[in-house]
Amino acid sequence: MTDVAEGIGLEQTQALEERYLMRTYKRAPVDFVRGEGALLWDAEGKRYLDFLTGISVCSVGHCHPDVVKAVREQSHRLMHVSNLFYTEPMARLAEQLSDSSLGGRVFFTNSGTEANECAIKIARKHAHGRGVAAPEIVSFESDFHGRTYGALSATPGLATNEALGPMLPGFRSVPRNDAASLREAVGENTAAVLIEPIQGEAGVFPISEEALLAARQACDGVGALLIFDEIQTGVGRTGSLWAYEQTPVRPDVLTSAKALGGGFPIGACITGPAAADVLEPGDHGSTFAAGPVATAAATAVLALVDDPVLLRHVRELGAYLCERLRELDGVRETRGRGLMVGVGLEDGIDSAAIGADLLERGLVVNAPRPDTLRLLPPLVIDSDHVDQAVGLISESLLGFAQR
């Protein structure tokens, strides 16, 4: 899988990073220079099958022609004017997002964590409106909501980093899927329950229907909001446009990002009618968000993904992928929905080592926990891509067993 070399090469790129970039990332030793559909090429010309899509961002495939066209045309016409003025792509996208989900209003952001910040503001202000002086937000342990301070405070696994403290007050968590603890944690001071319907960064763990129903009932009982973080699960990833559509509940607010822009940064906080008018002028804002280019890109993505035929394809191909994976020696289980798949490996198999080996073999995945590989392929792949990926994973697991 080798093509033509491009760019300055891995070593020079690494040298520049070493000198000039903050040391916040532990990167795999690959310098990607090009992408098309489900494929990536590195600076040496080596080709990779991408089953990670930049952590579920390029869900319509790398450099999808419709998204590229939308970005190109809009960037030739108008790139930025700020939110002091009207722009049509923003209004059109808001209409699409609202009509396809909760039917309320939309606040655009540049990222997922910012979308959650907006949701947290809505929750707190909504609670103040109920007379709550010190609003609390309840989430599940091992939820991941982002790295800005509000979202970070709602991410129990990261909020314990004392070097970054203090976190914001008013956040608490309960064990994943523990419906009883959740009911107990929600009280008069609760502003919102903020959860991922399928936990992504934790290793792809769907939240049980019982826990989701408990969250909905508990919120209804005290007048709190139920907020779904659909940053990873949304925009078709699970085989419906939004993951909540495959659950027995409907949230009051949902947040989206990642795949929404097809590779272009954009996020959105979408409300239902109950939370639509909570934020008022002066409560929130952004200079860059809702820019014409980002919203044009997202409009192109939604036109591709909000398609019953594609969504059925995602559900069926996801089932096929899981079925193939479960036949492999070394695979204990698969978790997830649609093309959001966690592969639980048997005891003693190091997922990070398998992930690194797969990268060498030309398959891009990641290892969010020591016993799990996470697969987030483009929604537009076919069964041949699945067969190739499963073949490579099988070879890698076999190689690990023979060590």
């Binding site: 899927n177 129903l213 559509e245 495959q246 027995p248 019953p308 089932a319 289980e333 978790r335 639980g344």
Partner: protein
């Protein structure tokens, strides 16, 4: 004093001249005044005409804007209807294709059952189902029991699945697994209509 002398009296001559000049000035002033009155009248007439024309144009513009707004509203409704119809059409086409595929597959299976060869490593595509999502291995609390008695939750799940394009079989399977509802027909008939 002779007539000639009287006629050429410089004082009288001056008086005549003055009088003529005054008369001429008065006539000129009167003419100017008349012209000014005419000009004012014309200006006023033009202003009235312009105002009348502007008012007529404004009223016509208002009418056009009203019609335009009405047309936009109707157009928006038509587009929404068209979009709904397109979605419904796609959903029906998918359902039809699936039905035809399943029927064809069933007929093929019946015809070729003894000689069929299928590689063990390549199972057929099928919809995601829950039982294969086994309980997670970490030290979580006891796996959550299925929410057996929440008819509202079951109906909402079925409705949302239907809206998102899931088939009757997919929805029935989720209801059986998630809510332990064996006879799913009542819910499905209410949402999707009776099975043809």
């Amino acid at each position: 004093m002779s007539r000639r002398g009287r006629r050429d009296d410089p004082a009288k001559k001056t008086l005549r001249t003055d009088t003529a000049e005054r008369l001429e000035a008065i006539v000129e002033a009167a003419e100017r005044a008349a012209e000014s009155v005419i000009d004012d009248a014309e200006t006023q007439a033009r202003r009235y005409l312009a105002q009348a024309r502007a008012e007529a144009e404004r009223q016509a513009g208002d009418r056009v804007a009203e019609f335009s707004q009405l047309i936009d509203t109707l157009l928006g409704q038509a587009i929404a209807l068209q979009r709904d119809a397109e979605r419904l059409q796609v959903t029906l086409e998918v359902a039809k294709d699936r039905f035809l595929d399943e029927r064809e597959e069933g007929e093929q299976k019946e015809a070729e059952l003894p000689s069929i060869e299928r590689p063990a490593a390549a199972p057929r595509l099928r919809a995601v189902d829950e039982p294969e999502i086994r309980p997670e291995p970490v030290a979580d609390p006891e796996p959550a029991p299925a929410p057996r008695s929440d008819p509202a939750g079951a109906r909402l799940l079925a409705t949302q699945l239907a809206v998102s394009g899931s088939s009757r079989e997919e929805i029935a399977e989720r209801l059986r697994i998630g809510f332990e509802i064996e006879d799913t027909d009542a819910i499905l008939d209410a949402i999707l209509g009776p099975e043809g």
